[in-house]
């Protein structure tokens, strides 16, 4: 009896910790998103200022300088966002301590790549790693892995959420690293499908399953 009590206490405490872990990850994600928003407001103010001093500033050296500056400012927050996604979505497959260690190694390698080959290389590296992680999570979700549960229950939500996150990471990769490729727009349409279907499935799981049941009945 006492052993059952202590085991349930351990489970409760572990659930509590997991909830806290989720909570802080969500806070970190929201905070990174907010900071990206602030960078964008800065961009609006900066371009307005440039227009008032020189309406033709986009055909001067100021334009590529502005683009580089914005990329540089937004880069750390995109990095935080990608790391946070990497810690959040696969958290139930991999033990948390291992996940944090792996994320630390990825971050270190990304920073090394950024120092050696510039921001583009660092970004491409972390994006490829993120795509691999999100793709594995998606495949496991489709296979209905018993070890995989998400913050909100329901298989449709799980598939939707992994589609949405895979699409988001793929979009950043397509935009950051594939802009000059002939596959840029075809990949983009795949991304649109992933994000669109993923968002819809995450938001309306009960409606979709109701519809599925109706179709099955007919």
């Amino acid at each position: 009896m006492s052993s059952t009590n202590s085991s349930s206490k351990i489970n409760l405490s572990s659930n509590f910790n997991l909830k806290n872990y989720d909570y802080y990850l969500i806070l970190a994600t929201s905070f990174a998103l907010l900071l990206i928003g602030i960078v964008c407001v800065f961009g609006v103010w900066y371009t307005y200022d440039l227009y008032t001093t020189n309406p033709d500033w986009q055909s001067t050296i100021q334009y590529p300088e502005y683009i580089s500056m914005m990329n540089l400012y937004v880069y750390p927050f995109i990095l935080v966002l990608l790391l946070s996604l990497g810690l959040c979505i696969p958290k139930r497959i991999v033990p948390r301590t291992e996940l944090i260690k792996a994320t630390g190694i990825i971050l270190l390698l990304t920073l090394i790549a950024s120092f050696i080959g510039g921001i583009e290389l660092g970004m491409s590296f972390i994006l490829l790693m993120s795509i691999a992680v999100q793709a594995v999570v998606f495949v496991l979700t489709i296979m209905k892995s018993g070890s995989l549960t998400f913050e909100r229950e329901g298989h449709l939500i799980q598939i939707g959420s992994s589609l949405l996150h895979l699409g988001t990471v793929l979009f950043i990769f397509d935009f950051a690293s594939m802009r000059d490729s002939v596959y840029h727009i075809p990949i983009f349409w795949v991304v649109t499908l992933l994000i669109g279907i993923g968002t819809f499935m995450s938001f309306y799981p009960s409606e979709i399953s109701k519809l599925g049941r109706k179709i099955a009945l007919h």
């Binding site: 961009g43 649109t192 669109g196």
Partner: protein, 339 residues
């Protein structure tokens, strides 16, 4: 002959549309006063009156929209740009495009019609809310009436689509008609080439028929989220969160897909020089803020998160209005502002 028919249609739009929007504006003023009076007095009958006024207003705005739809159809059916032979030969040689003629399929959310379409979407959402939450969330009904009234009044004052219907389209059609009448093949050719660009890469594109309306429906839905978030702060009632979240889902889905659909268009039309443009900055800001709202809402019942989520929902809507206004304030590739 075609041009005269078009002019007659344009006249009809003004004759019938102008009084409809004027009545809708007058009703909006009354609705605004009634809603503000309700916030002070809290008399039940005021809610009943305001719902009735809202319904009348929605019908009027919808009627005006039907007139606009008819006008767009008339433009499509009456005006045909027939390309001179040397233009078709030139187009075929340079780009392999086999041209004969084009018609204007003008989207219903351009020029002065944007705000009108937004007002129509918002009035439909407000009507649906007033039917569904008549007894449980009167505050939302009243605040949506206030927002809608402001939107209709602003539309009437600054973006009336009936005073001078589609001014840019009108000048293009007029130029075309005058060139045809002058029978100068060189001018006809020049204008035909310009119109080919406008029709093929702007009016008749899939993007113009999907990207803006998705965003305007999203804006209307997210206005409901805003009202819900304001009441989340005033009253800690789950119903307000439910309304806010249900409409954030519609809004966020349309916002995301709508913005994504605009991307290949931007790549194609603006080549490379558009990233980090002011409007693009505003749109990304709005999207990341709504993403943050949806994330914080997952832990709504943690200490302090109710307030954080509600405040974020309000900030999101402020960013939405800011992003919309950027088009008219800050110059850029996706903007009409000039300094």
């Amino acid at each position: 002959m075609e041009y005269l028919e078009y002019l007659a249609a344009r006249e009809i739009v003004s004759t019938f549309g102008e009084p409809i929007l004027t009545y809708a504006t007058l009703i909006s003023v009354i609705l605004l006063l009634l809603s503000l009076y309700y916030l002070v007095k809290r008399e039940e009958r005021l809610i009943e009156y305001s719902i009735k006024l809202l319904q009348v207003n929605t019908i009027l705005i919808a009627l005006g929209f039907v007139i606009l739809m008819w006008f767009h159809f008339k433009i499509y059916s009456t005006i045909e740009v027939i390309y001179p032979e040397y233009v078709t030969a030139y187009m075929y040689q340079t780009s392999g495009i086999q041209l004969t003629s084009s018609r204007f399929a003008i989207p219903l959310w351009i020029e002065t019609e944007k705000l009108y379409f937004w007002a129509l979407c918002l009035s439909l959402f407000a009507w649906q809310i007033s039917r569904k939450y008549r007894d449980t969330a009167k505050g939302i009904i009243v605040s949506l009436n206030v927002i809608l009234s402001f939107l209709v009044i602003i539309t009437y004052l600054y973006s009336n689509p009936f005073t001078e219907p589609l001014p840019i389209v009108h000048s293009e059609i007029t130029n075309w008609s005058q060139a045809i009448a002058a029978q100068n093949p060189q001018i006809v050719g020049q204008i035909a080439m310009q119109l080919f660009g406008r029709i093929t890469y702007y009016y008749n594109t899939m993007y113009m028929w999907t990207h803006p309306p998705m965003l305007f429906i999203a804006y209307a839905s997210l206005a409901v989220t805003f009202a819900g978030c304001v009441f989340m702060l005033l009253k800690k009632d789950e119903i307000y969160d439910k309304i806010a979240y249900n409409h954030a889902k519609i809004g966020y889905f349309l916002l995301t897909v709508g913005m994504l659909i605009g991307y290949p268009w931007a790549v194609m039309a603006w080549d490379g020089d558009w990233w980090w443009d002011s409007k693009i900055n505003g749109s990304i800001m709005m999207w990341v803020l709504y993403s943050a709202y949806l994330h914080t809402r997952i832990h709504l019942h943690k200490k302090g998160m109710w307030e954080v989520t509600a405040i974020l929902g309000i900030v999101c809507f402020i960013s939405l209005v800011f992003t919309y206004l950027l088009t008219y304030v800050v110059p850029g590739i996706h903007s009409m502002a000039q300094i």
